[in-house]
Structure formats: structure tokens, C-alpha cells
């Protein structure tokens, strides 16, 4: 297995594990961290291809993903804190007000 295939498989595995984490875990904070893992998988894929192509375009996109991840966390964490203050739990099953 060559380097590109290895790293792309790792990127796919990280993305799939992150998605599984979002689906199967109960804790909202752990779900957020699994989303970060998915972004990391996408980043690894971009960096691998950017490295292979020898172009800086992929790196620019990676930088933009860093910024998006930071903005996501900056908005998501206050929402989680607000929900915890209201429901007194991190359990996703308690947040059923958003139905329908």
C-alpha cells in the first residue's frame, strides 16, 4: 500500500468514525468532538492530495476549514452551555423541544 492510499484510507476511517460517534454517542460535547474528528479527516485528505499535486490550493482550503472549525466551536459551545443550564443534562435525548 503506497503512501497516498494509506493516508486517504486513514482520512476515510477518521471521517467514518466521527460520523459514527455523532450517531451513537449520547453526550452532546462528545458529539461535537466527533464533528471535529470528521473535519480532521477531511483536512487529512486535502493535505494528502495537495502534497501529491505540489500545489498550495489544497492548503488554502485546509486553512479555511480551520477557520470554519473555530467559528463552529465558538457558536456551538455557548449553545451547549445554554441547553445544559436549561435541561441540567448533556444527554441528547433530553433535548426534544426542537421536534417538527
Amino acid at each position: 500500500m503506497d503512501k497516498v492510499h494509506l493516508l486517504q484510507s486513514l482520512a476515510v476511517a477518521l471521517f467514518a468514525l466521527g460520523l459514527a460517534g455523532v450517531v451513537i454517542r449520547r453526550n452532546v460535547l462528545v458529539m461535537l468532538m466527533c464533528m471535529e474528528l470528521m473535519l480532521n479527516g477531511a483536512n487529512l485528505s486535502l493535505v494528502t492530495y495537495a502534497h501529491q499535486m505540489g500545489s498550495a490550493v489544497g492548503a488554502v482550503l485546509v486553512f479555511l476549514i480551520f477557520v470554519v472549525a473555530t467559528a463552529e466551536i465558538a457558536v456551538a459551545i455557548p449553545i451547549v452551555l445554554l441547553l445544559v443550564r436549561r435541561k441540567h443534562t448533556l444527554d441528547i435525548d433530553a433535548y426534544t423541544d426542537l421536534k417538527g
Partner: protein, 175 residues
């Protein structure tokens, strides 16, 4: 023996870092305490930074450690410390969608892996292993992609305003 080991040191380290990053990701799914999950994610990110360093894109490795580990995960760790450790959500790790979730994860990995296997390793037009440095990245960023660079600042301002608005909702509710 040692010479051949040293010659392949980079490849060996790449395999080692990739395996450790994967192990951290798997640990994230099975550990119970959010703090331990955060530590597993931090180790995965640091090992990915090592992978980026081995690929020769050192500035992305630095960004990975500075932005992800230094900013995002430190923020996450602080929030975990703010919350109640006796939360009932910690007693039950998995939701009712455990089996479908795992099956979907395996199916996704299989589909992507199959697609990856069908593509040749060499992308058409690839310059084998041609490195690009910070200078090339910075020139591309500030000449060709300046609009995106400016848009990131707009996005960050929007995120800060949104965070303040959420805190304000919180304050109004408590009176």
C-alpha cells in the same frame, strides 16, 4: 539492518503516526468520560500534525497544533471542567442507534475504501512529491484567494456576534 531501518525511518514514522491517530479516534467512541474523549481527540490531532510534518507541509502541522489543539481543544477542555461530572448522561454512553450507527460507519468506510481502490494512486498532472512552502502558500493566499481570506474575517466576526447573542439570551432568561 540499522542502515535500512534509518533509510525507511520516515515511512515507519508515518505508519506509526497513522496507527496512533486511528487508535485515538477509536478510543473517542468507547471512552465514557468527556475529558478522556477530549484527550483522545487531542492525541489524534497531534499525531495528524506529525503526519503533516512528515509530508513536508510544516506550516499546516503548526496550524494544526496551534489552532486545533491550542485553541479549539483548550476551549473544549475548559467547558468540560465547567460542567457537572455527576451528569446522568455519563452513565449511559451509547444512544439507541448504536447498531445502525456502527453498521452505517462500516458501510461508509467500505464504499469510500472501494472508491479509493478504484482510483490510481497517481493523480493525473501530479508532480511527484513536489514540496510547497509557506512562501508559495502565502503568495497564493493573498494574491489569488484574498477574497476568501477577507470572508474568513467576516465569518469570525459573525461567530463572535452569534456567541454574544446566545450569552445575552441566557442572561435575559435568568433575569
Amino acid at each position: 539492518m540499522i542502515e535500512s531501518l534509518l533509510a525507511n525511518l520516515e515511512t515507519l514514522l508515518l505508519y506509526l503516526f497513522a496507527a496512533c491517530a486511528l487508535a485515538g479516534a477509536v478510543l473517542m467512541l468507547v471512552l465514557r468520560q468527556p475529558m478522556r474523549v477530549a484527550m483522545a481527540l487531542i492525541s489524534t490531532m497531534v499525531f495528524l500534525g506529525g503526519v503533516y510534518g512528515l509530508l513536508g507541509v510544516h506550516f499546516i502541522a503548526a496550524f494544526q497544533v496551534l489552532i486545533y489543539v491550542g485553541a479549539v481543544m483548550v476551549f473544549m477542555v475548559y467547558v468540560i471542567m465547567l460542567l457537572d461530572p455527576r451528569d446522568p448522561a455519563l452513565a449511559r454512553r451509547f444512544s439507541t442507534l448504536l447498531i445502525p450507527g456502527v453498521l452505517a460507519c462500516v458501510a461508509l468506510f467500505a464504499v469510500f475504501g472501494w472508491a479509493l481502490w478504484q482510483t490510481p494512486a497517481a493523480v493525473p498532472g501530479a508532480v511527484a512529491g513536489a514540496p510547497f512552502g509557506l512562501a508559495q502558500f502565502a503568495a497564493a493566499f493573498l494574491s489569488e484567494y484574498w477574497l476568501h481570506f477577507e470572508l474568513t474575517s467576516v465569518l469570525l466576526v459573525a461567530a463572535v456576534v452569534a456567541a454574544i447573542a446566545i450569552i445575552d439570551i441566557n442572561r435575559r432568561e435568568r433575569g
